[in-house]
């Protein structure tokens, strides 16, 4: 044994890794498989939401198909279905790898898969049936929220047990984020669903939760994944341990305070809004620390982007994290906020975060993890390439169009000499471009889901070597 708890011989280390990958196979494939089911449902709901802006007289005779129900159903299936389940799948695999401990309490983890899906299904049906709680990011009615909170506990206990009994004494930076997420999400979600609030303090609570769930759940899992996969693929250690510390603790203590920037100008005490704006600006520190750390690690080895499918998605996600976070800090400042607040610009920003950052990282994670746990390679590298470029194109069309449209909407709304309807009319071409983007993204996801299904059902050609996008030059390693 080495001082760090690792077996001394390479053979033993590889055997440990393979045993860990095998131990999580069933749980990880079920998390990923059900995540992809929700990705399909959520993508279609997103497309319908977008089309509703084009044709406001589309399907108006049926209550469950009205815009105001489809939109939260899209958000909740994407957030709690796709992103959370895929993130949990990645977390289980990462923790097994990083602790050198095979999966503990598999039945607990399996119970979480089942219950979490029941909660998302029941909550989504409730929203469509008109039972939404009415608070953004918390639309599942309280009873469905209780199921979701219970659903997270078993897999959380399983992960913490693995960390406590780790064979590797050192906790790598990815583990900090994952342990954080395992504690943060239930605390946030349970407090937010407690019936303690009304009026404006409920609004403060709503956005405390709404923004923390991004930072403490989706962002934490995604950053933990990036920290593991970039060094793994390029075969070099992370650039700086000190920057890792700064990035993690900066996120923990600043992110927890940013939520009320969603209510700038609203009927809340000035000190509260100022606190959130200041914290939003302070977030630049951990964001730059994390970005510098990731980009400096990857920078000298960008050649690997030519052949590694995973690295393409992961680096795209890592760069998006830097950019979307800096954009977020800017949006909190009053001179900028007064234009973009209440507009589609915010919606574009949200998709920059949850798609170009979180979803892209999770796509990359699925491409890396599945062959290792299922012990079967992706059959068609061309499909991975198509998924990547369709996702990038669809996102670019979405983001560029809606950002311009949202900006013009805000400018029109602030001009008292223009009728309010001008702020609607100027957005129409950009809303149409968003619908085109939605179609592209649905196609991208269908390709991804189809490809995953082939692996899961063990169909298609069997490859002896990893599905790479090009030749690995001499000297590079691992895909």
């Amino acid at each position: 044994m080495t001082a760090d708890g690792l077996p001394a011989s390479l053979e033993e280390r590889v055997a440990l890794r393979i045993a860990g990958d095998r131990s999580v196979r069933q749980v990880v494939m079920l998390f990923f498989g059900s995540a992809l089911f929700w990705l399909l449902i959520g993508s279609l709901l997103g497309l319908v939401t977008s089309l509703k802006f084009e044709w406001p007289d589309l399907w108006t005779g049926t209550a469950w198909l009205t815009f105001g129900r489809i939109r939260p159903a899209h958000l909740n299936t994407m957030a709690y279905g796709w992103s959370s389940l895929a993130g949990l799948g990645a977390a289980v695999w990462l923790v097994a790898r990083l602790t050198g401990t095979p999966l503990l309490h598999e039945r607990l983890a399996l119970a979480s898969v089942v219950l979490w899906n029941v909660a998302v299904g029941a909550g989504t049906i409730a929203i469509l049936a008109g039972r939404s709680s009415g608070m953004e990011w918390l639309e599942f009615p309280r009873w469905a929220g209780v199921i979701l909170a219970i659903a997270g506990a078993p897999v959380g206990l399983s992960l913490l047990a693995m960390v406590r009994r780790r064979t590797l004494s050192h906790m790598y930076v990815s583990l900090w984020y994952l342990v954080g997420a395992v504690f943060w999400f239930p605390l946030l979600y349970i407090m937010a669903n407690a019936p303690l609030w009304r009026g404006v303090d409920q609004a403060a609570m709503n956005w405390w939760y709404g923004h923390n769930v991004l930072g403490f759940w989706f962002t934490s899992i995604s950053l933990g994944t990036i920290y593991y996969l970039i060094p793994k693929i390029i075969g070099r250690p992370i650039y700086s341990y000190q920057l890792s510390l700064l990035g993690f603790w900066g996120l923990a203590f600043f992110y927890s305070l940013v939520g009320v920037h969603h209510l700038v100008g609203g009927p809340l005490p000035d000190w509260l809004i100022s606190l959130s704006v200041v914290a939003s600006v302070l977030m630049i520190i951990p964001v730059v620390a994390v970005g510098y750390n990731h980009h400096m690690t990857a920078f000298r080895h960008l050649g690997a982007l030519r052949w590694s499918p995973t690295l393409r998605f992961i680096v795209f996600g890592a760069v998006s994290y830097t950019l979307v976070s800096l954009q977020g800090s800017l949006e909190a400042l009053q001179f900028f906020n007064r234009i973009v607040h209440f507009t589609h610009y915010t919606v574009a920003h949200a998709h920059f975060g949850l798609y170009a950052f979180v979803a892209m990282v999770l796509f990359g994670a699925v491409y890396y993890i599945v062959p290792r746990v299922a012990e079967r390679e992706w059959p068609y590298p061309g499909l991975i390439l198509a998924h990547f470029w369709l996702s990038v194109t669809g996102f670019a069309v979405y983001f560029i169009g809606l950002s311009i449209g949202g900006w013009r909407q805000g400018v029109a709304m602030l001009d008292a000499s223009r009728p309010f309807l001008d702020s609607v009319t100027v957005t129409l071409p950009y809303l149409a471009s968003r619908s085109v983007a939605a179609v592209i993204l649905v196609v991208a996801h269908l390709i991804f889901i189809g490809h995953f299904s082939l692996v899961a059902m063990r169909r298609g050609p069997v490859r002896a070597t990893p599905a790479l996008l090009g030749e690995i030059p001499m000297g590079a390693r691992d895909a």
């Binding site: 009205t66 609004a203 203590f253 709304m413 309010f420 609607v424």
Partner: protein, 199 residues
Amino acid sequence: MKRFASLVAGVLAAWMAGWLALTVVPRQQLASVGPPAGLMPYTAEQLAGRRVYVANGCLYCHSQQPRASDLGPDSLRGWGRASVPGDYVYDDPHLLGTSRTGPDLLNIGVRQPSEDWHLIHLYQPRALVPGSIMPAFRFLFVVKARAAPGDRVVSVPPQWAPAGEVVVARPEALALVAYLRGLDRSYPASGTMGIHHGR
């Protein structure tokens, strides 16, 4: 990091800081805000209408928080004075909203008191506001050959009305309109609690 306990302690401290600062302290500070003299509690019908508003996601396009004049021309557009915490004491869930694809509604009852207008607008927004992209809410209405006694018939303009039939408002539509017509925070602001007022 090697120590699990220190990691968990830091994680919990960070969470606790945000929870206290953004939820517990504001709640304590605002606990003393009572209902302003001009604000009535919602009636049973208005509360039913508020549930229709929540169920159908009106909040995704309509805010209920007019801002101070240095932040935008809200009052010039007739949306009302900057709102204060007291205006929301009866609100659960809160419906402040984050989007203005449509106009702010906190004072829609002042701006648009007509029940007829609201019913026609919900049945077909474009009948009253050409160019509107608000969805039509036809499922809140029944189209039938002839009105029964007690039916609230909606006077939809002929080019938007179904030929040879009448449009009757369902109870949900009537409740929603009762809620919208009751949205009125035009009384003087009180209990401002250190909030932004426009300088």
